[in-house]
């Protein structure tokens, strides 16, 4: 097994020809952008490619959440906490540019049993470094005046935040360019070239061959396709989600990301087919975003009125005031998920030079900077900020 560090004695930054790099990052979404930024800051010569425009994948189809509330203790929570700290480095510089909204999250439950389970889960999260505040039934209204009456209570997570992820990715790519990175949208990857010893030598694109020692697979929902090109498959599959966007509302109608207690359980489920849970979230522009649905339907882009209907019904149950409010837009995205709902991060011993950074399901925005840090550490042979075993591309068994 290859240790989680780069080869000793490697010399960086000597690539001189226009199409020769140290690292090719595949995917100009939020994860690719963070990777490009950190790798170029570390002195590596980086090229970011994307078959579409920048931010044309799932990054542009989500809500931009940076959450700790929906993470159970374990590797994903550890990555989320690491990543959240790193988000603040960027936000210190560009809070307005990326429209940071540190509004917090509120999980509510209709039943006493549900509330008890919520509180128990919150206690565990608290023990692992998440701020949580139990909110009694009579206190809910002070946090969210328009919540339906009769809820049992909830848990408030002040650390949940939202950013505008497209702007964040765009600013990161801009910074990467200023650090010497090349950003090439509309450049489709065709295959990953390897030498006779199996080591990565380049990325063949529609625009020509890019020589490189490392390829970072930040292709999100298409990460499985990219991995296959290097003969190192990973089972990243699409999980479709719809979002409703309301017309702009009076500020303060909804104040947090509010969701029903079964949201977390929804994510960890393995059943095929549709799952929905109520999520209602304010935005700085005044619209309210309504989710959340998960389905395994491949890349089916057609509208499911049934799903839209369920999302609307759930949202209006939580916030009856929304019944007469209109949806002005709906959109859908395809979350990249792995069977165990954990991302794939790190070196792949099946293809020396291939580094994965994908499969973040619905948590990509929050987990992106932590992923980029780990990827950079793996490539440069620096000590890892956290173990990568749980995210290993080899964990799925042979022929994944």
């Amino acid at each position: 097994m290859v240790p989680d560090r780069g080869l000793p004695g490697r010399v960086w930054g000597v690539a001189s020809s226009r199409d020769s790099f140290d690292v090719v990052v595949v995917g100009a979404g939020i994860v690719g952008a963070f990777c490009a930024d950190r790798l170029s800051a570390a002195g590596l010569r980086v090229c970011v490619i994307d078959r579409g425009a920048v931010v044309s994948g799932t990054t542009g189809a989500g809500e931009g959440n940076i959450l700790v509330s929906d993470k159970e203790p374990g590797p994903e929570l550890d990555l989320a906490l690491l990543s959240r700290r790193l988000w603040f480095d960027l936000l210190d510089e560009l809070p307005e540019a990326v429209e940071l909204d540190a509004k917090g999250g509120l999980i509510v439950s209709r039943t006493q049993d549900g509330l008890a389970a919520l509180v128990a889960g919150a206690d565990e999260q608290q023990a692992h470094g998440i701020d949580t505040l139990v909110v009694g039934a009579d206190e809910l209204a002070s946090l969210e005046p328009h919540l339906a009456p009769g809820l049992a209570g909830g848990v408030h997570y002040p650390q949940d935040m939202q950013v505008q992820p497209m702007l964040a990715a765009a600013h990161l790519l801009r910074r990467a360019r200023s650090q010497g990175a090349d950003v090439r949208p509309h450049t489709e990857l065709l295959t990953i070239e390897r030498g006779p010893d199996g080591v990565v030598t380049g990325a063949l694109t529609r625009g020509g061959l890019l020589g490189c020692r490392w390829v970072v697979n930040a292709a999100g929902t298409w990460g499985g396709e990219v991995a296959a090109m290097a003969g190192a498959p990973v089972p990243v599959l699409p999980r479709r989600g719809f979002i409703l966007v309301t017309e702009p509302l009076r500020p303060g109608t909804v104040r947090h990301k509010v969701y029903g207690a079964d949201y977390v359980a929804n994510v960890a489920s393995d059943s095929a087919g549709l799952e929905t849970s109520p999520v209602v979230e304010s935005t700085r522009s005044g619209t309210v975003l309504i989710g959340a649905s998960r389905e395994r339907v491949g890349f089916d882009r057609t509208t499911s009125y049934d799903v839209l209907g369920r999302l609307a019904a759930q949202a209006t149950e939580l916030f009856p005031v929304l019944r007469s409010v209109r949806a002005q837009r709906t959109y859908r995205g395809f979350r990249p998920y792995c069977p165990d709902h954990l991302p794939v991060i790190g070196l792949d011993s099946r293809a020396d030079g291939l580094v994965h950074a994908c499969g973040h399901e619905g948590a990509g925005i929050g987990l992106a900077p932590g992923t980029a840090l780990l990827v950079t550490e793996a490539i440069t042979g620096s000590p890892l900020s956290m173990p990568l075993d749980a995210f290993s591309p080899l964990r799925f068994g042979e022929g994944a």
Partner: protein, 469 residues
């Protein structure tokens, strides 16, 4: 959803303008259940806006809009199930047939669902306006909007009106205003209609058009209204409403007019939102518009969906009526005289000639300062869009939307979409791919829908049983 709201028909025609009326009338001849939907309180669309009283007059008030044809179509509507005040927001392809979702009543917003094996989309256009300095001032409206006020409700858009932009609509509206006693300060056309001479064949067979244009110009002359060709709006001035407009030539000559209303139109944008929901083949027409491809029976590439009128290519009301007629005959399985197809061809040729002469100036973005709003709903400026292109690597209209919010407001990019695309092209030098952009323009719903209406969908089942009467 409850059965009382879920209905069936043989044909649903969406849009009761000239082509929708013609299609519905013809399709109903053999006794099929034809439902005709329109968002307005009356049929006629944006073209036939005549108030009931106006229509009853026997005087030849509006010969240029062929009111006689309108009356003939109205007389034949008795077999059509006409439903006004229905705003369609969703068109869904089922395993068999289609489901049309609408809201009845602009205020009541009641859910209406109709299933039918055939749908005719005749949703027409809205005016196209390229942004200019001061275009968001009250009193600045589209020429079509001003005409709708006047024709439909006999209300003048202002006391003294300037018309500007490009296209034959300007003359038509000016004529209407003058006949109604409204003071028209000038008609300002950015194109050079003398260029029509380059397309003589296009005018053949359409002597009526030449006649019309001459009549309009004569009316202008009679009222001493200047017609300035090769001029365009430089700026609309005013504090909370327009009170003065500066127009100018390419070479920098300018003139001011004191007016309280400015009616603008740079052409038309076909309204394809519902069609995009089922994804038929589209193409770019001579005026740069995305339009739907149809065969000689007005069928789109989606079996069961027909399209008529401006959505197949901007070409005027006469062409629209012919297309509707053809679609209606196709749906009622009756042949069409080849002479009709010849007439359609003549009209389409003429339309292409018009497209070549009219439209916004190709380099219109050069005259737009950074400070001017481009997206009216979200108040995004040209500068913000240019900054996104320059600083954030944006190279397509979708990216501009995601970064600046342009196109994310209530009108969902209808007013600003083309302008944003033009600005991105001008900033990046990168040509757009408008067809794929249109294909990816996932605009669902086509109009805002109350969440309570959407919520009813979750109780419904999958595809309906085969439609019955």
């Amino acid at each position: 959803m409850s059965d009382s709201r879920h209905q069936h028909a043989d044909v649903v025609v969406i849009g009761a303008g000239p082509s929708g009326l013609a299609a519905a009338v013809e399709a109903s001849v053999d006794g099929q259940h034809v439902v005709l939907l329109d968002q307005g309180a009356r049929v006629g669309g944006a073209y036939w806006r005549h108030s009931p009283a106006h229509l009853d007059r026997t005087a030849e008030v509006d010969v240029h809009h062929d009111v006689a044809t309108f009356r003939r179509l109205l007389d034949r509507l008795d077999r059509v199930d006409v439903r006004t005040e229905h705003t369609v927001w969703g068109l869904e392809q089922l395993t068999e047939g289609f489901r049309v979702r609408a809201l009845q009543g602009e205020v009541s917003r009641t859910a209406v669902v109709l299933d039918a094996p055939s749908v005719v989309v005749a949703t027409g256009t809205h005016d196209r306006v390229t942004p200019f300095r001061g275009w968001t001032l009250p009193g600045v409206m589209t020429a079509g909007g001003g005409q709708a006020l006047l024709k439909g409700t006999l209300v003048a858009p202002g006391a003294r009106v300037l018309l500007a932009g490009s296209g034959p609509l300007l003359l038509v509206v000016a004529d209407g205003l003058l006949r109604s006693g409204v003071d028209v300060a000038a008609v300002v056309e950015s194109g050079h209609p003398t260029k029509y001479a380059v397309h003589p064949r296009a005018w053949s067979g359409l002597s009526s058009r030449t006649q019309e244009a001459t009549t309009y110009l004569a009316t202008l002359a009679r009222h001493r209204v200047p017609y300035l060709a090769g001029w365009s709006v430089v700026e609309a001035h005013g504090t909370d409403r327009v009170d003065r407009v500066t127009v100018g030539t390419r070479r920098g000559k300018t003139r001011d007019f004191e007016v309280d209303a400015l009616l603008v139109s740079h052409g038309f944008t076909p309204q394809l939102e519902l069609l995009h929901q089922v994804g038929p083949e589209t193409r770019i027409d001579g005026d740069g518009s995305v339009v739907v491809v149809v065969d000689e029976e007005q069928r789109t590439s989606v079996p069961g969906v027909l399209a008529t009128g401006e959505v197949t290519g901007v070409g005027g009301a006469s062409l629209a009526i012919l297309e509707g007629y053809v679609a209606g005959r196709s749906l009622s399985r009756r042949p069409v005289d080849p002479a009709v197809h010849k007439r359609i061809a003549v009209h389409r040729r003429f339309a292409q000639a018009m497209h070549a002469v009219h439209g916004p100036r190709v380099d219109w973005t050069q005259d737009l300062p950074d400070s001017e709003v481009v997206c009216r709903c979200e108040e995004v400026t040209a500068g913000e869009i240019r900054d996104a292109c320059r600083d954030l690597g944006i190279d397509d209209a979708r990216g501009a939307k995601l970064m600046t919010r342009a196109g994310m407001g209530l009108c969902q990019g209808r007013m600003c979409g083309r302008a944003v695309a033009d600005l991105v092209v001008a900033s990046t030098g990168r040509p757009t791919a408008p067809l794929s952009a249109a294909r990816d323009a996932y605009r669902q719903p086509a109009m805002p829908v109350p969440l309570s209406v959407l919520a009813e969908e979750s109780l419904g089942s999958s595809d309906a049983a085969p439609p019955h009467n």
